[in-house]
């Protein structure tokens, strides 16, 4: 099944549930009418929250840049010794 179909089916199921709620009027109709808006807003909040959390906990590795410079120096030494000319100063 194509993924878009999966997402579409999920949306249809949720809409079905919502219409059911409207019919059954377990909670007052005026609240039920607003539910789709609430869900869109909370989906947006979820997205923003995930981006925010991801940004705050973004893993960085400054020490890796230093290690890489060491490795590059080592590689250059070796290649120079072996006479591989790659044109570095």
């Amino acid at each position: 099944m194509k993924h878009v179909v999966k997402i579409f089916s999920l949306l249809v199921a949720i809409s079905g549930l919502w219409i059911g709620l409207l019919q059954a009027s377990i909670i007052s109709q005026s609240h039920t009418w607003l539910l789709p808006i609430y869900s869109i807003v909370s989906l947006g909040c979820y997205g923003l929250l995930m981006v925010g959390v991801g940004l705050m906990r973004f893993p960085t590795c400054p020490q890796e840049a230093l290690l890489l410079q060491q490795d590059i120096a080592e590689a250059k030494d070796f290649l120079n010794q072996k006479g591989v000319d790659v044109g570095f100063a």
Partner: protein
Amino acid sequence: MEQKKEKNKYSVIVPTYNERLNIALIVYLIFKHLREVDFEIIVVDDGSPDGTQEVVKQLQKLYGEDRILLRPRPKKLGLGTAYVHGLKHASGNFVVIMDADLSHHPKYLPSFIKKQLETDASIVTGTRYVKGGGVHGWNLMRKLTSRGANVLAQTLLWPGVSDLTGSFRLYRKSVLEDVISSCVSKGYVFQMEMIVRASRKGYHIEEVPITFVDRVFGSSKLGGSEIVEYLKGLAYLLVTT
């Protein structure tokens, strides 16, 4: 286990374009970190004018023509087809694809191989977004775009892997051949398409943490057109996978 290890051969495919210095460094580092396994390096050079191929020929003299294979193409023909091209010449039963610009460090190769042996996975993909992984050299804007893109893709595609656009991966050769034949995207959407299609096909995918140091020599850019391409790629994957 030991015997199984003896039989495996790893083909490392490195596409290059104007990577004269980097290709020499990366070859040295691969040989330094992969001492105990059988491997070959396949350099797919897209007709670099800077003499990348001359450097590779010197490296072949140093390390042996059976260890470093130069399989050039006449001009820039894109990343996806570079892998297809390299794959044709690969003699290993496993294939590693990595960038030549040193943002992917060969020191992680043993952990890819170890993970594959432990789990018998078909694909081991490097991820920057877990403990032990990380990125260096990105500004806030770049990080924000990356996180936003990731949340969007995770929410819409449910891919089952944490780093979709990373391109440091180990594949079982037959799996790579299967997946690559159904991929049509260009650029780094290609990396995302590969892993999403593999995941949909039900292949066993494992992750290992890697660090990513944004390219030391030269620069990488991420502009508005890349973001548009990414969104198009996302929509394309939604309707085709």
